[in-house]
Amino acid sequence: MTLALATLLLAGCSSPAEPPVADAPSVVQVPADAPTISEAVDLVAEGGMVLVSPGTYEEEVTIDKAGVTLRGLDRNETVIDGGGTRAFGVFASADGVRIENLTVHSTLFYGVLVTGMHDENGPLAHGGPGYTELDPSEFPPVERFSIDHVTAYNNGLYGIYAFNARHGQIVDSYASGSADSGFYVGQCEECDILVARNVAERNAIGFENANASDSVTIAGNRFAGNRVGMTLVSNYQEAFTPQRENLVVGNLIAGNENGESPAHALGAFGIGLALNGGQRNTVLSNRIEGNPTAGVLLSNAEDIPSLANEFRLNQLSANGLDAADISASRAPSEGNCFADNTASTSSPAELVSTTCPAEGATSGGGTLPELTVPRGLSFLDIPPPPAQPQLADLESAPDRLPDALPAVAADEYPLPAVDLLADRAAVT
């Protein structure tokens, strides 16, 4: 009895602070109950669900209501089209939002964006950095989010983007044709974010993390056929430098030399995994192959060095260099180590034989193979992706998102085969 009461009290505490509007519906169908997704979001009760029938929706959808689930009834046929003019497809600023089973394409900036960095006019994230930084303490992070079975293609900056958000997941999704990165997780501490089983191809960068730290797990993804597979970056333009303590496990990071993509704005090409001022990350059991510049690339971000990253049990082969460290002398890398990898080529030559732990070992000054970098294609001209698998259960209302993600065991994501998630990819 006491136990039951305690449970009830806890449940009461964690329910939304505002009382629900009495007559707001818990499920709103588009277009049956509301002609647009935006109007459906206005109508639906907090914690309710918007179900969107197949169709093309030319709108910017803002979800500022807690606990809302936005779900397409056909991932490939429920399409939010930015028309090459609208800034974003879906922007969630409220806690506990789920975005599921739909496609967003041809936005100027963001396909799907979850962020606490916004004002009444919309998202501030990447509105163009000013000379005075936005104070992150004025913008509490979005808590709890899920982006599941979402397709984002041909978006001008990012396909799927979580910034200043925590306790969330981006899973079983797909991104291509992004002029910056397909997936982006940025600016959070104690993030508790899982990025798993996604496909990124034909992007300038497949996946990017800038300043998202502690408890970010990037697992079992296919980052293949981009210009750069994935990056872990410290970036002074956003809060919480340096980037640190991610787990990168069981990913395929391969063949990132695809010219059928927008250009990387700084000209990068042929790179698997780049750490630019990344620190204390664990890179485990990844297959990093066929990246003609470098499989793993270490560098400094201005005066922030790449420090104490561990590379274990990775399959590194057929890269221009399996590993390279081009850190400048003003911020040499330190303590990065390689254990039980297949890597054979590196610059400096001794880099891949730096065993773990490698406290105090500094490195840098490596040189990269010279490649001819193909010109970029317009993000609006990248071929659309192949049909993507549907969310299994389209009917049931989902549970409230958990306050914290369940722990991921590294052995859930062993060294992947070369055809990891190839059935969802156009570039194989």
């Binding site: 950095p129 000379y131 005075t132 002074y236 927008p262 704005a265 003003r330 993000f379 609006l380």
Partner: protein
């Protein structure tokens, strides 16, 4: 000026420095020294600049930098202890007050006459900075005690053009009077030797904004308001509050090669339009550069290796520098090189702002290919002074 007259004057200053009221500076031999024209011909529209205040003159005061300057870097013999340094800066401040009219009439007339300001001070300002050797000898934890590191762009920079103990930066509308004033001040410092000096000039300005020798607008994005200056430029606390850390770089520019490039190529190097200084990402001259704006193909509108992108403080997590540069032109060297370019002068709260930016420029800025550093140094700009608070009092 004759050695005799200089010694007379120094004796007079020493007397005044004994703490007597200003009116007691009567032993100056004023009668034979006063030959300042009471009605100078070229004074129209030129306003005197108060040397006294929370900050030294010549940084944000006057708001539009004067058209001429002489910048002198001096070395001191030995290493002065705190007491001697405090005395040195105090005396220097008093001479600057007298030169620029902020002292008793007799002292002013004597100083101006001695220094060769026969038409008065006009809008003369003189800014004083201390080099890292002197500052660190007093207290290595003080701002300004740290020297610049070796930059990639320092290759070929002669040893005698690096660093220095004392900066005297004089600015005014009258080029010869400005140079005379700085020379006179330098000569008044016992044991000081001019390591190098440079005459400076700049074109018509709107505030800090002027065209540089490349023909592009310079000094566009700088802190301007009181709030911005407090956030980015002035040392915020401690005895040196109101001072700043200054960096000077004498940058020879390959203007003939730059001017040989097409306008489009030049604009890609700078990241701004040549005609009006507006960013290539759009907007007007004073609008912020949009660093993220891209073409649909993924290229930056503000090119990846443009100066505007390379120098942007957001990349290095830096404050915004107050830049107040001048041109220089020393003609053509025997080997045919034009020894002309930009005297880069900047002020900031911490040296890191300049250091990390310069590293980044050396790595990512195409403009550096047109630039050769020929002198370099950092100086602690002392807080401002007044009659009751001598220059350098913060060090005591």
């Amino acid at each position: 000026m004759s050695e005799l007259r200089r010694r007379d004057l120094l004796r007079g200053l020493a007397t005044a420095g004994l703490g007597a009221a200003a009116g007691a500076a009567g032993g100056w031999g004023v009668a034979q020294l006063t030959d300042v024209d009471p009605d100078p011909p070229a004074a129209a529209g030129i306003e005197p600049v108060d040397p006294h205040g929370r900050h030294q003159a010549g940084i944000v005061r006057p708001g539009t930098p004067q058209p001429h300057g002489l910048l002198a870097v001096l070395d001191l013999a030995g290493t002065p202890d705190r007491t001697s340094l405090v005395r040195l800066t105090r005396d220097l401040g008093e001479r600057i007050s007298a030169l620029t009219g902020a002292a008793s009439g007799d002292a002013v007339a004597a100083a101006q006459s001695e220094a060769g300001l026969f038409d008065g001070a006009g809008d003369l300002t003189v800014t004083v900075g201390l080099g890292p050797r002197l500052v660190s000898a007093i207290d290595p934890s003080l701002p300004g005690s740290e020297d610049l590191p070796e930059f990639a762009s320092d290759a070929g920079l002669a040893l005698e053009r690096r660093g220095g103990d004392l900066l005297l930066a004089g600015y005014g509308s009258d080029p010869n009077a400005t140079a005379s004033a700085v020379t006179w001040l330098a000569a008044s410092i016992a044991g000081a030797r001019i390591r190098w000096s440079q005459r400076l000039f700049r074109g018509p300005s709107q505030g800090t904004i002027t065209r540089n020798p490349l023909g592009f607008h310079d000094g566009v994005i700088v802190p301007r308001t009181e709030t911005e200056l407090n956030e980015h430029v002035w040392l915020p606390e401690g005895p040196l509050a109101g001072g700043a850390v200054c960096v000077i770089r004498r940058l020879r520019l390959d203007t003939s090669r730059f001017h040989g490039a097409s306008r489009t190529e030049q604009e890609a190097v700078i990241g701004r339009r040549r005609a009006d200084g507006a960013p290539l990402s759009g907007g007007g001259q004073r609008d912020e550069v949009d660093l993220l704006a891209k073409t649909p193909e993924g290229e930056y509108l503000t090119p990846a290796r443009s100066h505007a992108r390379a120098a942007h403080p957001s990349f290095t997590g830096s404050n915004l520098m107050l830049r107040r540069g001048y041109s220089f032109d020393d003609g053509t060297l025997p080997d045919g090189t034009r020894d002309a370019g930009l005297m880069f002068v900047c002020f900031q709260r911490e040296l890191r702002t300049f250091v990390q930016t310069q590293h980044r420029l050396d790595e990512t800025d195409d403009l550096m290919g047109f630039t050769t550093a020929t002198a370099s140094g950092t100086f602690l700009i002392l807080p401002g002074f007044s009659r009751n608070r001598p220059l350098g009092a913060a060090l005591s």
